[in-house]
Symmetry: C2
Subunit: 486 residues, 2 copies
């Protein structure tokens, strides 16, 4: 019944068929798997380790920022949805409902996002200006039913995310915080995951249902498509009014506060795979790699004395690396050749491979191989911990620099509508003037085979004087990035 | 509409009305809250911090044991449930279903536990004896619909837990691992949460639906009721056969493996509250307390110079404690008196309070107050970090010892069925012989106003020679603990 999984090497190049390459990398490196449950995926241990690394990094930031974790119900009463008109309209098509066991109980949705259920509690908790700002985050699963065909990590009916929901006394604090959090996301993506980010404001059409405006971080993949990796919303006062959230100010009067919400998901893992992976498989930025180095001993069954020495030196090396805070493993499986192991660990993206053979041992040496570019160097065994740490730092930077150089080289500006489709076909990221009209965006998407507005880059989105919309010729409201997207 | 929460002190004593006391402690210490969503609760930041502490402790243990975290779908196809006859029967009444959008799609349940959906994937992943043991855990939310009235942390339609699911080549390995994991639970409860545990085997009636046998950890609360805090099941081969999990052995033949599953939930937090709390509120064992100490400066608005000195010394103290790895906070709120703050932090269970006043400063001193017994001591400021660390260790041990002494003093043995109800009324935990018959257990429950079998304690469950069942007089199969339960 169940088909056994095939874990052999990749059969397609990244440049030839990126969707197929992506699927093979995810499955064969054992990051994730399809499930018999329609629209759903399984995150396997390697994939979950990456998510745990992201959670650990972000939880440390949350602590510094005074934001506390909590947990709210999976179920959202139908009446909660309906209280904020824009919100219910935005989410209605993708909501899954629980089958009612009794007509007396209210209809319940599975959370597609948690604004409403959280703010119902906030209304009870917030009394005074002293309770503000209220800064709460939760890590949870989310359900959006419109998805039928899973793209592992990128699109599924259920996924994991974090959602922060904050309340402020003034709009200024609220918007500053929404902006601060999108910059936290940029920091996480760039520092931890080596993903170059463009941060900016979404168009009105792409703004979150119920929000005043939405900031987003966008990453641009090698196939020219953008991957939105996180958003942060200034919700204004709409939800506060709908959920009767008020606070007594220093003036002893009741006031309506301002709210923000912000989230990123397991999609970030998809961005890591798409951006850094190569024809050998996954390439993990060292900072997020759960295992930094693998030691592969090179042994011969015919020479037991040499084998013992090689294994002893390899074990010592693992211990020395761990003592230096480098998570390392020894692959001493008998049943596989060194070549087989090299391929497997390359497929799984471990940053550094260390080869230890009889010849190396004779000179107290080993060979280090960097996953991102395959460069090798022979070094003394005792130098290994220090050198590995240095190489990991170097590799982290190289991955970011390479991706950044690629993205920068593909960013262009145009005011020529005829050229837009061709530029997108050439994987370009196109900065162009736009009128801000939602229908105009729809026309562009249809005309360009899927070109969408990504964001108005911070500091780069102001229109030139007297500029006009790239499509309709009306006065431009701003400059905005166009690309196709995931 | 939403009623503002009341956070003043407790209005009832633990010994007078434990259910009401419990509810007040949870709400007023802001551990958790009721939700407008029927049957569901909100875990507030203090409660989530405790869960995070439990997750961190257990994740470190999992890593040492080679068990990896993963994530499987929330949704379980109806057909999966039906494959294991005992399993579907056990869970049918409490399953919630997703409303079908199309008759073409299979009916989906919200996971009440994940055996079936995980083992469908395992069948794909396991090929050879080299893939065994497969050791996987997941942290997730669970839905069991039978609950209507929430008992915060103890009973709700949705709760958080971990569930480990392992596969072994032999029954011996499987059972040893199931036993190892229940001992891990005992260790977590005793070491981290200072909860004395009785570990043992459940009766057939109380065995997990689909399992061969179930180990459990039981904690006994001051009201005489048991709280089952975690279970570990030897699942035998039933699920493996139902889900076609096979592995090729060293003999190149296909074999059916053995499986175990084990889980604990946010219920553990309920046990901490019930067991250690007192008439002032929550008492947190130091090892799980997110904040170990609070510094309360004693200042007078009329003496600004003294206030400055007190605040400076208090800030220095927080820094010194943190440098010594003790999480500490300064409560320098102007709007509240020291007495108000003492009450509030006692309610919230912070292990150590440090009072710093002008008189203390004059002698470079401060006063430490232990939460569990209110003992005070004046010490030199420079001694504070060392003394606080010592007191935290002492308090952790005192909480465990006190609870252990209480439980031990209440455990009795009887073979007198007439006495059983009265012993349970006196909050005793009763070890008695039993025939092992399910109906006989039902009779005892009815006769004794809720007395149930808890477990056959490891090493203590063998029947005496020629002993007979405490109720029916048939030959005894074992000795088992009886108590009422949560």
């Amino acid at each position: 019944m169940a088909e056994k999984t095939n874990t052999k090497g990749l059969t397609v190049k990244k440049s030839e068929d990126m969707p197929e390459w992506y699927s093979q990398v995810v499955l064969k490196s054992e990051l994730a798997d399809y499930s018999a449950v329609r629209g759903c995926a399984v995150i396997r241990p390697l994939g979950y380790d990456l998510w745990q690394g992201i959670m650990d990094y972000f939880n440390a930031r949350l602590k510094l920022l005074g934001i506390k974790n909590a947990y709210f119900p999976l179920f959202i009463p139908e009446s909660f949805f309906k209280r904020e008109a824009g919100h219910v309209e935005g989410f209605a098509p993708e909501v899954a409902w629980v089958e009612q066991k009794s007509k007396d109980e209210e209809k319940l949705a599975l959370r597609p996002t948690s604004e409403t259920v959280m703010y119902d509690s906030y209304a009870k908790w917030i009394r005074s200006h002293r309770d503000l700002p209220l800064l709460i985050n939760q890590w949870c699963n989310i359900v959006r039913w419109e998805v039928k065909d899973v793209k592992l990590f990128l699109r599924s009916r259920e996924f994991l995310w974090q959602e922060g929901h904050c309340v402020f006394a003034t709009e200024q604090e609220c918007d500053e915080h929404a902006l601060q959090m999108i910059k936290e996301y940029q920091r996480l993506a760039e520092e931890l995951l080596a993903i170059p980010i463009t941060t900016g404001l979404k168009s009105k059409k792409e703004t979150f249902a119920g929000a005043k405006h939405t900031y987003a971080i966008e990453a641009f993949m090698p196939d020219g498509k953008a991957l939105q990796c996180g958003t942060s919303h200034n919700l204004g006062q709409g939800f506060a009014k709908a959920f009767n959230i008020t606070y007594k100010g220093t003036d002893e009067q009741d006031h309506t506060p301002w709210q923000s919400s912000w989230g990123f998901s397991t999609r970030l893992i998809g961005a890591v795979i798409l951006l850094h992976g190569d024809d050998k498989g996954l390439v993990l930025p060292p900072r997020i790699a759960p295992t930094k180095a693998v030691i592969v001993p090179i042994t011969k069954a015919s020479d037991q004395a040499a084998t013992r020495k090689v294994l002893a030196a390899s074990r010592q090396l693992v211990a020395d690396l761990k003592r230096n805070d480098t998570e390392a493993i020894l692959d001493d499986r008998d049943e596989h050749s060194p070549g087989f192991k090299y391929n497997e660990w390359e497929l799984k993206g471990i940053p550094i491979r260390i080869e230890v053979g009889p010849k190396d041992i004779a000179t107290d040496s080993c060979v280090l191989v960097k996953r991102n570019d395959g460069t090798k160097q022979a070094i003394k065994l005792q130098e290994a911990p220090k050198t590995v740490t240095a190489l990991l730092g170097q590799m982290q930077q190289e991955l970011y620099d390479k991706a950044k150089k690629d993205v920068d080289s593909r960013q262009v500006t145009t005011n020529d509508y005829e050229a837009l489709t061709q530029l997108l076909d050439e994987r370009k990221i196109v900065l162009a003037h736009h009128c801000g009209d939602e229908e105009c965006e729809d026309h562009i998407k249809a005309d360009t085979n899927g070109g969408t507005t990504r964001c108005r880059p911070l500091g780069d989105g102001k229109p030139d004087k007297d500029a006009t919309c790239v499509r309709c010729g009306k006065p431009a409201k701003y400059k905005i990035l166009f690309s196709r997207n995931y």
